[in-house]
Symmetry: C2
Subunit: 221 residues, 2 copies
């Protein structure tokens, strides 16, 4: 069976979990204390990052490379369109969330509030938290602008771009950092993706010391 | 003609320039003062980052998405292998350089020494510079470990992974931050890639206020 070395609230791990689940690839989840950098973990991935996926007898790292590999070896159901322009748009948005959104929002809210505590790095920097809280509004508005023109973020079909975005937002929702009342169209999109069977394992996550809000796992939030 | 909005020493822009040149796609280069975030630039790319490429009548952003698009629409000469495992390895290494190497080395050397001065953000933080100088050694050793087993970084053919790595290293070489004597196999690899016609425009770059070392454009460095 596939085995994923992961951290439950890592958006990069969640994106891979969603891809695997959507394609009905069974996976054993192994929590990785990546910040301890023990030799076993470094042997699995010299980059010392999660996710690391054992699949097809290989150890795979880098979430974008992993998702493309899964897509190329298990194309059904498709999470990438076939047309190069549409594929570009999916990859642009995956980059948007995993780079820009990550740096401006996830790193400033989730990493400050959760990762610092879990890894023993200390207290949240309130300036970062404030910046993250401001930046997420702009990102929700950008998503609303996209979703006003399209059924899903990258076009009319659900793709890796939706999983990348949902991975970040679901981790932030676990710590109540998403204002779902800001943009109705974003809330509708999230309700749609949240109700997929692929999302179940993510909604069942429990992180010791952090209790999610009641609406976190609620499909009618 | 294609038009690339870029910054000369940006490794992400250089990776795109190398891809375009290798595929003999003529491009007009337009320097972008991205840090001024003027409205024209934000219209071109709401992420406010370079590179932005105008190609096939569209504005394309996110260097990884751009390179995959170029590859899918202009597959000849190939910068990606055909086998999914080999493609995974290319993408893993592009991620390695554009994320890990970027954060640990490029941001701490190039951005401290050059970008801060150009954008008026002040002086280099010597602690960052020291960390970057230490980290690049480890990365050169990792490259040597790969190149001891392979002709190119991701396998026996030149790929986007080589361009990603060469883009970062060439920008750092412009400010004399690469110790080419550390690993002979890395120096040989760089000499090979540097002598390609696709590299010429990069070796001709001149950044006002920063004079490159004599060896920068020398093919027998």
């Amino acid at each position: 069976m596939a085995r994923l070395f992961h951290v439950p609230l890592s958006p990069f791990c969640r994106k891979v979990r969603l891809s695997l689940a959507e394609k009905k690839i069974e996976v054993e989840l192994v929590e990785e204390r990546y910040w301890e950098k023990d030799t076993d973990f470094l042997r699995r991935n010299p980059a010392a990052k999660v996710p690391v996926l054992r699949l097809d007898g290989k150890m795979l790292a880098e979430s974008a490379a992993i998702c493309e590999y899964i897509e190329e070896t298990r194309p059904d159901p498709a999470l990438m369109p076939r047309d190069p322009e549409a594929r570009y748009e999916v990859r642009r948005l995956v980059g948007w969330f995993d780079d820009k959104f990550h740096n401006e929002v996830t790193a400033k809210l989730l990493y400050e509030r959760v990762n610092k505590k879990v890894t023993g790095e200390g207290y949240p920097d309130s300036r970062n938290v404030k910046e993250g809280a401001r930046a997420i509004k702009y990102h929700l508005d950008y998503m609303a602008w996209l979703l006003d023109q399209r059924r899903w973020l990258a076009g009319d079909a659900m793709t890796l771009a939706d999983f990348a975005a949902a991975a970040h937002l679901s981790s932030l929702d676990y710590i109540s950092d998403v204002d779902w009342n800001r943009q109705a169209v974003v809330k509708d999109w999230y309700a749609k993706i949240k109700s997929r069977p692929a999302f179940r394992s993510i909604l069942a996550d429990q992180i010791p010391g952090f209790r999610p809000p009641a609406h976190y796992a609620d499909l009618d939030f």
